[in-house]
Symmetry: C2
Subunit: 200 residues, 2 copies
Amino acid sequence: MVTSQVVNTYPLSSYSFGTKEPKMEKDTSVADRLARMKVNYMKEGMRTSVEGILLVQEHNHPHILLLQIGNTFCKLPGGRLKPGENEIEGLKRKLTSKLGANSPALVPDWQIGEGVAIWWRPNFETIMYPYCPPHITKPKECKKLFLVHLSEREYFAVPKNLKLLAVPLFELYDNVQRYGPVISTIPQQLSRFQFKMITN
Amino acid sequence: MVTSQVVNTYPLSSYSFGTKEPKMEKDTSVADRLARMKVNYMKEGMRTSVEGILLVQEHNHPHILLLQIGNTFCKLPGGRLKPGENEIEGLKRKLTSKLGANSPALVPDWQIGEGVAIWWRPNFETIMYPYCPPHITKPKECKKLFLVHLSEREYFAVPKNLKLLAVPLFELYDNVQRYGPVISTIPQQLSRFQFKMITN
């Protein structure tokens, strides 16, 4: 039985950041995205996606790294697994695609940790739930969020069309309007961990 | 590393329910409650409280057992630890006080499981956060929520002034108005578990 788990977090200033070629969104509208989801479902069945929660600290408070697209929309780094792909390996592949340098020697040795939440999409719609609703026998997507344990120093290469933000838990909490239901409840899901803030 | 944990849940009909003497609330108003909290803080320091999430299933969907006071207010079974008391032992004591039969032989052998959330009260006020806010060096309360693994059959004795309700996750989700911030986000905190619904 685990009653508290310690997670080391390092200052944002421990990490260095560069840029790389843009990673364009595959869809230009929500309607396009849901249509593509439907086509893929017909071919491959339920979509499984994986996302990483990367933590840093500032002012003795945990912050989460989010990718910002344009001026408003924020998302966790991650993405869709290939059919049959292992979750952990798939998340590492996606993190490297989103945040790894082009030179393999500089890509972080991603340490994928605890599963913190699972969200279900019952229909080809934007709404997701933190459970598979009763009577839904064929959910369309299952999205899994994992803690990613960062080392003391890392280099991140951010696609030129995106911004990487370190957002404090107190900004995410109770802010569904800005961050949506998945990201705004990460503070609750992380509350069981004890964050050990390591300063240099 | 744990990517999914299986939790067995049994039908509500597996459990039997009786009544026992009333357990009155110690305070008759929120103001009284906060005043008592302040007096206790002066004597004993930060209050630690523990609450249990007891799961049953109905219609192939997890339900949580909540104690209802009057017609609106719902709470998880649990309460305040004595100074220096062990969390697990304290939660067992509180569960027995709230739901155990008067006859010791009939009291469930409480299996306290995973810690699922920790909430902090920074001031002598009703608002709590799923993190200790920055710059708060002397929080007034720390509340810890634990999963309680029920056996296939149990007998619960419910104080006569309270009602015991089995509330589905889909009713709690996104329902902060009715259940408050702590209980309404339990579905997100439980989403990482895989519920194995055992039918008789």
